[in-house]
Amino acid sequence: MTLELINLFYVASAALFIFGLKQLSSPATAVRGNMLSSFAMLIAIVATLTGKNILPWEWIIISIAIGAIIGGLAAQKVAMTSMPEMVALFNGSGGIASLLVAWAALYNVDNSIFTNVTVVLSILIGGVTFTGSIIAWGKLSEVMPSGAWVFGVQRIVNGAILIGIIAVAVIFCMDPATDSQYLYALIALALIFGVMVVAPVGGADMPVVISLLNSYSGLAACAAGFAINNNILIVAGSMVGAAGIILTNIMCKAMNRSLANVLFSGFGAVKQATKVEGEVKPITADDAYLILEAAQSVTFVPGYGMAVAQAQHVVRELGELLEKNGAEVSYAIHPVAGRMPGHMNVLLAEANVPYDQLVEMEDINPRIEGIDVAVVIGANDVVNPAARNDENSPIYGMPIINVDHARTVFVLKRSMASGFSGVDNPLFFGDNTRMLFGDAKDSIATVVAEFKG
């Protein structure tokens, strides 16, 4: 095929990517959207392969087969709870691929300043994405300690690396060569920088980092597109870049923190919340059943703890029984519940909760006063009224689901301990709060048994 024809196919591919993303706007059409998007990818790949001078065929087939087997197996095997780690790893492989593309491009392209700058950008962003994603994966899967890794002169060290990167990049752009030692220095510095920027971020803030790295992997592809003058890389890469930025922004807003605050400060290091003291009112599963049985409207507020306890299936069963009993059932999901945006929705969908019962924080809060029972399962910070009332709380200002305004609140909790961010929760001492202590799965299963029995 001629270059013009290949580029026409790229245009068709870009159009399909756009349609695919558009269909992601509703769960009813999203599966088709994803298929369209993968078809767009196929068109782009096949069109490229028909171009001249493509690698020897056996190389291509082997390289693709290796990648397809690894990617395919990983996608089939991964548990839904580990989705953030998986996405981080896929991100990382996209990043390193862009780095390698830019590196290989040095052998082919005219060495204009413009091309050199884009090659450098692609190497930098790709490298940071790669090692940053590996660290994010390590922290989320708890292969590495998930806490923030902070040391005294960190900012100075990072600043020095950044200055080093700029200096090396400028020298390299002036006199680019495929065997330039500055090229190797640049690659090494980019990889180190990726580690250094993600290491100081604590495990609880990893979702933001994953979104951001997602954006970077798109931008790296985009920069590689400029390096080799390829429009489909630019179109697809920049749309991914936009997606990552939007999700990052949503996560930051949901935590009422700036991106800089997430990236550069350890959580809760600055303020100490006002100590809350009071008496908790425990309730037994039997009594909980009696209240639920009489309830007209019930909303479940799940957190990552629900997934850890593997309670989502019994929760769905209870939801169905409550519906049969005439109650209106919904699942209220906070934007930062779970380990990445929308993670709880996926976990509940896996347990066969219909998506029309999943409601967002903005939808449930205005009508929460009318809810008879709010059942909090494995969530803590996202329902902590201190975020509204206590100016000294580290999470002050973060939007929460106002379960304390519901008529009755059940909090399922293993024991009295504070949540991921180590914040005391005045919700537990509320007049309308009843604590259902014990393993969430067992507690719910007991209630379910009562309903059936």
């Binding site: 690698l55 690894i70 593309v101 052998y107 997602n214 929308g342 999943l358």
Partner: protein
């Protein structure tokens, strides 16, 4: 910098705006599949991997290209499959099969 690069910059600008428009319409429920689906799209760098390596006369460029093709394929194949797996789980109320969700 040539005129051609200016056109590429124009494409970039328009794509970013389009990306923002499209993605802000995705509901929060689908944010995880959106992220993994977008992630799969970033595997588009596979096109660059094929081209960059293919045009090179230097063997090192070929090795780099082949490695890039493998990594990008992990991203593409894994990303699309896992997104499909997640999206297939989203079902509407009172449906038994997956037809309704598709």
């Amino acid at each position: 910098m040539e005129m051609f690069h200016v056109f590429l910059a124009l494409i970039l600008m328009l794509s970013i705006f389009l990306g923002f428009e499209l993605i802000s319409k995705v509901p929060a429920t689908l944010h995880t599949p959106l992220m993994s689906g977008a992630n799969a799209i970033s595997g588009i760098t596979i096109v660059g991997a094929l081209i960059a390596a293919g045009d090179g006369s230097d063997p090192l460029a070929r090795y780099l290209g082949a490695a890039a093709v493998s990594f990008a394929t992990i991203n593409v194949v894994g990303g699309y499959l896992v997104t499909n797996r997640m999206l297939s789980m989203f079902k509407k109320k009172d449906t038994t099969g997956s037809e309704e969700a598709a």
